[in-house]
Amino acid sequence: MGERLAAALPANAWNWIAVWRRNHLAWKKVAFASMLGTLADPMIYLFGLGTGLGLLVGRIEGASYIAFLAAGMVATSAMTASTFETIYAVFGRMRDQGTWEAILHTQLTLGDIVLGELTWAATKAFLAGTTIAIVAAALGYAAWTSVLYVLPVIALTGFAFASLAMLVIALAPSYHYFIFYQTLVITPMLFLSGAVFPVGQLPGVFQQIAAFSPLANSIDLIRPVMLGRLGDNVGLHIGALCMFAVLPFFLSAGLFHRRLMR
């Protein structure tokens, strides 16, 4: 039992860096296309919905609709960036490309690999979310100092969604299963967590369910800051995000061990 645990957990606090650097090297070759891919979606939402709907909606929570939406898009872009990196790229490296198998022939453990992949996906999420926040600040929808405050939240959001997606790929037999995660979890979360409209308009049950989602916790931390207010329950939201980042990590590492080391 003890040795199985040792194989599933990170061996030390730095082994994961080699995996992160591998992914960084691969990414550098396609950085432009990759950034465009991750940023196009939230930008289109921001300007399409923001300017189009903004005219109809007027002000929400004391701010212009586009400023309200910008905060939602910062969190959402972090969510999608780390989710897609994990369910497609990481799954490929784990199952089809033999990348993980090659790494397991070295002195790294499965836990080191999972942690490296997780940190890489969170890095991409951080890049995406930060870019959106900077765009929002540049256009005057948020104060520059607020961008500094939301940086750690963006990173934490990236970790939480990468970790959840890691759980999904540890269980999924093939790529076909990811569509369920996308359409049954990720997309509804976008609409139920207050990213594009305030959740106050939803029926009470939905509001209560949605309040638990990692996206809602992330938005509740990011939006007040970007709109220049003080948020509520900051500790609680951070705690929830940390839980989403940490628990699925350990669970997925265990599941990968069962899947790959039989």
Binding site: A6, A7, I17, G98, A102, L104, T106, L108, M261
Partner: protein
């Protein structure tokens, strides 16, 4: 370091209720080249994976480089280089980048890795390909890169799963030559193979497996002497049944494989006399090889 590189005692592995490795024991001394020979599905890759701690035996004990596996397999892998059955190089990276990335997995610094890369490229005869993308290399080059990659941590022990399967004869001979060089420099090698010629040329000792069980073990010469011990006559182009009844009294044993008769005859001249004057027969007399041992032991031919 002790002079035992690998020790297996009573190792058994089941997948579900299918017995894949069955009470296997063997020892590989430091500096030795040890071969695992067996047909598809014999359990060769499973044994290689168990040595690396990537799959756990259901019974028995494994020691690699003095460390119990899988308990201390992470530590053991620091001293092992692996050539897996199927290449798992990073296709989007260049040759050099593959080595760099792999060295980092062993905790090496970029400077350290860059210092050994020229030697590895030279070893693998890939100097001119250093900056080519791996996806564009031939199968033989990829295999050589996998071999070079396995050496990045300067391992004492190399675990190679079918290092030359799928290569053309030229590429295969080049790999064999490189492996002999490694053996001469004191490395220990355990390799799995389908090729009798490969085992005969490289291995000091080998173990023949069938369905996870050891059916013979020894040096190639000892096995040939023990199981064959005389010249072989291959006869091709006649009616096998008719020929068998004709020459049976003069041979020790006859093996039919497809349309070819393999006759093990202490005195080949007697057989030749019997066949004299028969048209359309092709007769070849040769010294015995491991392939004959394998045929005898398993009663069927391995892929060639």
């Amino acid at each position: 370091m002790s002079n035992v590189a690998i020790d297996l005692t009573g190792v058994t592995k089941l997948f579900g209720n299918k017995l894949v490795v069955d009470g296997l024991s063997f020892t590989v001394a430091s500096g030795e080249c040890f071969g695992l020979l067996g047909p598809n599905g014999a359990g060769k890759s499973t044994i290689a994976r168990m040595l690396l701690g990537m799959t756990r035996p259901d019974a028995g004990d494994i020691t690699v480089l003095g460390l119990p596996v899988p308990a201390r397999s992470r530590l053991a892998r620091k001293g092992i280089g692996v050539v897996p059955q199927f290449d798992n190089l990073d296709l989007e990276f260049t040759v050099r980048e593959n080595l760099l990335v792999f060295g980092r997995y062993f905790g090496m610094r970029t400077r350290e890795i860059n210092a050994v890369i020229p030697r590895l490229l030279e070893f693998a005869r890939l100097e001119s390909k250093a900056d080519s993308r791996v996806g564009l290399l031939s199968g033989g080059m990829k295999r050589r890169l996998t071999l070079a990659r396995a050496l990045i941590n300067d391992p004492q022990l190399l675990v190679m799963d079918e290092p030359t399967t799928g290569l053309d004869p030229h590429a295969r001979h080049l790999i064999w030559e490189r492996l002999r060089f490694l053996l001469a420099s004191g490395k220990t090698i355990i390799l799995t193979t389908h090729f009798m010629e490969e085992a005969e040329r490289l291995c000091d000792r080998l173990c023949v497996l069938e369905r996870g069980r050891k059916i013979a073990e020894g040096s190639p010469h000892a096995l040939i002497d023990e199981y064959i011990g005389c010249n072989v006559i291959e006869i091709f182009g006649g009616n096998p049944q008719e020929l068998i009844s004709l020459i049976r009294p003069y041979v020790q044993r006859i093996e039919v494989s497809g349309e070819t008769l393999f006759c093990y005859a202490p005195d080949p001249e007697d057989v030749r006399i019997q066949l004299r004057g028969r048209a359309g027969l092709r007769i070849l007399e040769r010294p015995p090889s491991l392939e004959d041992v394998f045929l005898r032991l398993t009663g069927r031919e391995m892929e060639k």
